[in-house]
C-alpha cells in the first residue's frame, strides 16, 4: 500500500476553512496528516487553484476525498511537449 504512493492534486473549498485555523496552509497540512502521518506535501496552491499536491496511497486519497472542505482529489497527470 505504502509503495503504491502516487501524486494527487487536492482541490480545497477555501471558504470552508474551520475557524480554528488562521492560515489555509495549516488547514491543508492538518487535512493531510489526518489521513496519513507520512504523506509529503509537494506544493500548496493559492492562485490558479486552491489546494495542494501530495504523495498519497490510493487508500489515503480515498480517505482525503471524504474529508470536510475537500472538493476533489485528482491523480496527477503527465503532459508532453508538442
Amino acid at each position: 500500500e505504502m509503495k503504491k504512493k502516487k501524486t494527487y492534486i487536492i482541490h480545497m473549498a477555501k471558504s470552508q476553512m474551520p475557524a480554528s485555523f488562521s492560515e489555509h496552509q495549516h488547514w491543508y497540512e492538518a487535512s493531510l496528516t489526518s489521513v496519513s502521518s507520512s504523506a509529503e506535501m509537494l506544493y500548496s496552491y493559492d492562485t490558479v487553484i486552491h489546494g495542494f499536491s501530495a504523495r498519497l496511497s490510493p487508500a489515503e486519497a480515498r480517505a482525503l476525498e471524504l474529508t470536510e472542505g475537500v472538493i476533489s482529489v485528482l491523480p496527477e497527470t503527465r503532459y508532453e511537449l508538442h
Binding site: 509537494l42 490558479v48 476533489s72 508532453e80 511537449l81 508538442h82
Partner: protein
Amino acid sequence: TTRTPEFLGLDKAEGLVPEMNTEGDVIVGVLDTGVWPERSSYSDAGLGPVPAGWKGMCEQGTNFSASACNRKLIGARFFSKGYEASMGPVDESRESRSPRDDDGHGTHTSTTAVGSSVPSASLLGYAAGNARGMAVRARLAVYKVCWTGGCFSSDILAAMDRAVDDGCHVLSLSLGGGMSDYYRDSVAIGAFTAMEKGVLVSCSAGNAGPSANTLSNVAPWITTVGAGTLDRDFPAYVSLGNGKNYSGVSLYSGKSLPDSPLPFVYAGNVSNSTNGNLCMPGTLIPSLVAGKIVLCDRGINARVQKGYVVKTAGGAGMVLANTAANGEELVADAHLLPATGVGEKAANTIRSYVLSDPNPTATIVFSGTKVNIRPSPVVAAFSSRGPNSITSEILKPDLIAPGVNILAGWTGAVGPTGLAVDSRRVEFNIISGTSMSCPHVSGLAALLKGAHPDWSPAAIKSALMTTAYATYSGGEGLLDVATGRPASPFDYGAGHVDPPRALDPGLVYDITPEDYLDFLCALNYTSLQIASVSKRSDFKCSGERTYTVSGLNYPSFAVAFSTASGSGVSSSTTLTHERTLTNVGPAGTYKATVVTSAGDGGAVKVAVDPNVLEFKAAGEKKSYKVIFTSGSMPSGSVGFGRLEWTDGKHVVASPMAFSWT
C-alpha cells in the same frame, strides 16, 4: 523566427499599433523546458525598465545564476518537485536543476514568442534572415516545468500559480496531456483562473493529426492553436539512376555527395532484423551498406536517428520515406549525413525502383532555402483535428499559425538533431510542431495586449479568430497536406492568423468568467466539478434558468443536429444560437452575409436576425440570433459555412461547422 514576420505581415502590423502602445509592458510567461539565457534573442537592448509591479524573479540553480536575467528575460523559475516525486531526483548529469534549458524546446518557443531581433540568423546557413519574435518589445518570464521524463501536472499548476501571481499577461503552453474533461485537466483548471485574472492562455492543439478527434487543450477559455506551413522550403531532390527526380526536403549542411550516382539499397534488404526497413540502431549490415545510399522507412525511432544509424553502418546517404501515416508531410531535419525526406507517393515509387532495378543507383541534390513557396499556408498533416471530443458544440482548434520548419533560438547543451552524438552547437534550430505555432499566437496576443491593454483574454482571442483567413488570395480554401484537398474548420478553426487585421478587428465576441460558469452549468457539471474548475465552492447553477452550450458567446459556431433516435436520419430541425458583438472600432453599420457550401453545409438554411447592426460608439454591444434550419440528413453527415459581418472596412468572420449525429 525568420521569414514568419514577413509571412504574417508583422512589418505592416507594427504600423497599425498606436503610439501609446504598451507592448513593452506586456509579459509573456512560457511554461516549457527552460531557457538558454546567453542567446542574443534575449538581448534587452532598447528596452525600458522592468514593468512596475512585476513580482517574478530569476531563481539560482545548477548552471544558472540569478544574474542571468535582464530587462527582456525578467523572470526564470523551475518546478521539479512533482517530477522528482514520481521519477526520482533530477539526473544532474543529464539536466540542470534550474531554469537552464538542456533540451532546446523552451528556448525555441520563448524566442518565437518574444525574441529580440538578431540579424543574420540561420541554421548552418538555412533559413537565413533577421530572427525576431512576434512581440519583440514584450518581456519574457520562463517557468521550467518539463524535464527529460515529461511535464507533471503538480509542477505545471505550481508554475501557473506563480506566473499569474508574478504578473504575466499571457501564458504559453506548448504541451498537452490527452483529452480529459475540464474538471480533470490541470491546464484547463489553471487556465480558468488565469482567464479570470485577465491572463490569456495559449496552448498547442497537439500533433496527433491528421486523424479526427485528436485535439488537446480544448477548454473554451484557452486559445487552441493548430499548425500550418510557411512559404519557405528546403528542397533536396532524389535523382535516380533511371533519370527520374523526386522532390524532398533536408537541412543537411555537410559535404555533398559525389556527382555520379551511388549504389542504392533498401534498408529492409540489408538487415537481419524483421523491421530492418526502419533503420533502427544495430539493424543494418555494414558490409552491405558501406558507401551506398539507403532507403529507410519512417516509423518508431526518430528520423535523425535513422540517419545516424545509416552513417555508423558506413552508408553514404539516406532517403527517408514517408508512410501512409505521414502522407505528403515534409518536415526538414538537420541530418548528420547527406539525407532527404520524401512524401509517401514518391517514397512508394522510389521503393519500387530500388527493389526492381537490377542495379539501382541514386544521388541527392541539395538546393538550400527557397521562399515564396505556393500554396501556403497549408494545414500540417500532424496538426491535431476536430471535432472537439470533449464538447462537440465548441469548434476547435480556434485557429492555425506557422508550425512547420520554424527557425528559432536553441540550447547550447545539445546539437540541432538533439542526438547525443551530435556535437554541433547552433544558436538557432529549425523544428516543427504545434509547439511552434502556439508561441506564435502567444506572441501575437502580447502584441494585441500591448495595443489594447483593456481587452480581455476573450476579446484578444476573438480578434485573432474573426480576422483569420480560410482562403488563399484567389478564393480557394486552405489546403490540407494530409489530403491535398481543401481543409475544413475542423482542421483550421477560424483559419490562419492575420496579425495586421487582428489589431483592428472592428467588433469582438467578449466572454466573461460568469459566461463560462453558465457554460459549465450547460454541461451539467456538478457543484463540486464547477468548484474544481472555478474555485467557487459556493456557486450553484440556477434551477430557474435554461443553460445551453450554444449560448456561450464564442467567435465560431459548431451546430449539432441530432437524428431521431435509431432512425439514422435526422428530421428537419431548427436550432437558434445567440451572439453579442462589442464594437472596438469606430461607429459603423455592419451587414451579415452567410455562405454555406462545403460538405453538406448546403443542407442548412441559415438566417441572421437582425442582419444589420448599427454601432454608434466604441464599447457598444449588439446581439443577434442565428437560426439554423436543417433538412433531413443521414447521421454522420458534416457540413461547413461562414458568417461574416462587414462595415465595408472590417470583416468579422466566424466559421460554422454542422454535424448530424
